[in-house]
Symmetry: C2
Subunit: 259 residues, 2 copies
């Protein structure tokens, strides 16, 4: 059974995509078979994996409303290798934005992604879902399919306020469509020279003591550079601080999600 | 007639809210009467202006589907002062997310915001619209109401790729609902020590030569701190580099939008 992890926060630019890519690579380095799924119509994860979202013959969208003959074909072809062994990607394209609007009219749409991913339950040890910066139908599907939601939180003023909103949604999902959903915060873009950062981190560690990763991801310009190379930072710059931190995170995730 | 400026980019965390607040303050300092409008259900602009989105009796949402008696009351009460002379705010609250879903079923919804704002056309010289990190119905309304869209762009790999998508939407809006819409890019979170930043900025300045502001907003930790004070950085730390840069931007905007 794959362990499914959603990576979500409606606050923009907090390193959701960077975490999905880097954590995926960290788990693959530990010989885990990993699928990363791009659920954002911006297709940043697809880009970071070296693919071109304008040129793809298939994407995650084709799995949602396949015509009869297409279902089998889409499922067989929508997964692509990344430059790294053990790390595959189910990419996104523009059509994802239109899909979200059509989902609202489908009763029970929350379970659609879980059904689609179930066909790869024995192929992958981990499936990581990169969510868009919103709390719409796409994110609700991801939260319904996941055992855990990893919430990247930048240590800044807005971030702490936005959390209560996201955690309200998580408890909605626990009540309605996924009682087993857990959440865990990850402090990202941490700059130890900045007072606000230090204060917010301390508040988060006190307030969420049992639901926050010990690993803190510091600011590291290598993480800004790696998307342009189409490689995860663990491959592009394996000995930098960020690569080490994401390896440590991968170990924490493995311990936390053990059966 | 108010000049209406939308501040939009679907990429998250590129300083849309920070620019709306700081540019608004810069224009107010030049004796312009300015209204900033929070169109993001995260309500970060509302927070940055020192208001609490959970406690507000009225917000922008009440202007969209007022019950009969409420319309006049909402319009009379939904605008709040900020701590700065000449700068008012029309705040957001959570209900904005649900509003977006209901708009899709309303034919001609794109024009609703323009109609609502027209009642303040002679009250304010400038109306600045802070958009959410998405290209849904709320952003389409803002682009339909605006004379210009200011696109904050962080000098990073994903940002340059996301631009073509946003500019496609802008040309859609120009064809369908707002032929006079112009756009102008603003480089934000610029870090001159970072190679990627320098390269992306040069590419943007070459590629968009006539549609990019000369002012570049550098990374400045004062901008991270000011939201917690409920004051614009021009008030909180008036002599920092960021405050000076946003004042220069306000002058460029005035020149560009002159009748
Ligand atoms: N630890 C870090 N240090 C420095 N830069 C980082 C770090 N993590 C991410 N970044 C950079 O910050 C920017 C935002 O990260 P990213 O795009 O992963 O965030 P996101 O939450 O996925 O954004 P969106 O809300 O648009 O989906 C990117 O340019 C990325 O390269
Ligand atoms: N020039 C700057 N220097 C340093 N920090 C900045 C600068 N501009 C903005 N910030 C900080 O970066 C973070 C993101 O900015 P902001 O929230 O304004 O972006 P946004 O585009 O509105 O995000 P969202 O997509 O979530 O609406 C905030 O913590 C803000 O304080
Ligand atoms: Mg992302
Ligand atoms: Mg914002």
């Amino acid at each position: 059974m794959s362990k499914i992890l959603a990576i979500s926060n409606q606050k923009g630019g907090v390193a959701k995509t960077t975490t999905c890519m880097s954590l995926g690579a960290g788990l693959a380095e530990m010989q885990q078979r990993v699928l990363i799924v791009d659920l954002d119509s911006q297709a940043n994860l697809t880009l970071a994996a070296g693919l071109d979202d304008h040129e793809l013959p298939w994407s995650v969208v084709d799995l949602f409303n396949p015509g009869d003959g297409e279902a089998a074909e889409a499922q067989a072809n929508a997964i692509f290798p990344t430059g790294m062994d053990g790390l595959d990607i189910l990419p996104a394209d523009l059509r994802l934005a239109a899909l979200e609007r059509y989902l609202y009219d489908e009763p029970g749409y929350e379970y659609l992604l879980d059904k689609i991913l179930s066909q790869w339950q024995t192929t992958y040890d981990y499936i990581l879902l990169d969510c868009p910066p919103s709390l719409g139908a796409i994110t609700l599907m991801a939260l319904t399919a996941a055992q855990m939601v990893l919430v990247p939180v930048q240590c800044e003023y807005y971030a702490a306020r936005g959390l209560s909103r996201l955690l309200d949604i998580v408890s909605e999902v626990q009540k309605r469509t996924n009682p087993g959903l857990k959440y865990h915060l990850l402090a990202t873009l941490y700059d130890r020279r900045n007072n606000i950062c230090r204060t917010v981190l301390e508040q988060l560690q006190t307030h969420f003591a049992t639901a926050i990763f010990e690993t803190v991801i510091g600011v590291d310009t290598r993480l800004r550079e790696s998307p342009a190379t189409g490689e995860p930072v663990l491959v592009y710059a394996p000995r930098t601080r960020a690569a080490t931190q994401y390896r440590r995170l991968a170990q924490e995730v493995q311990t936390l999600l053990v059966d």
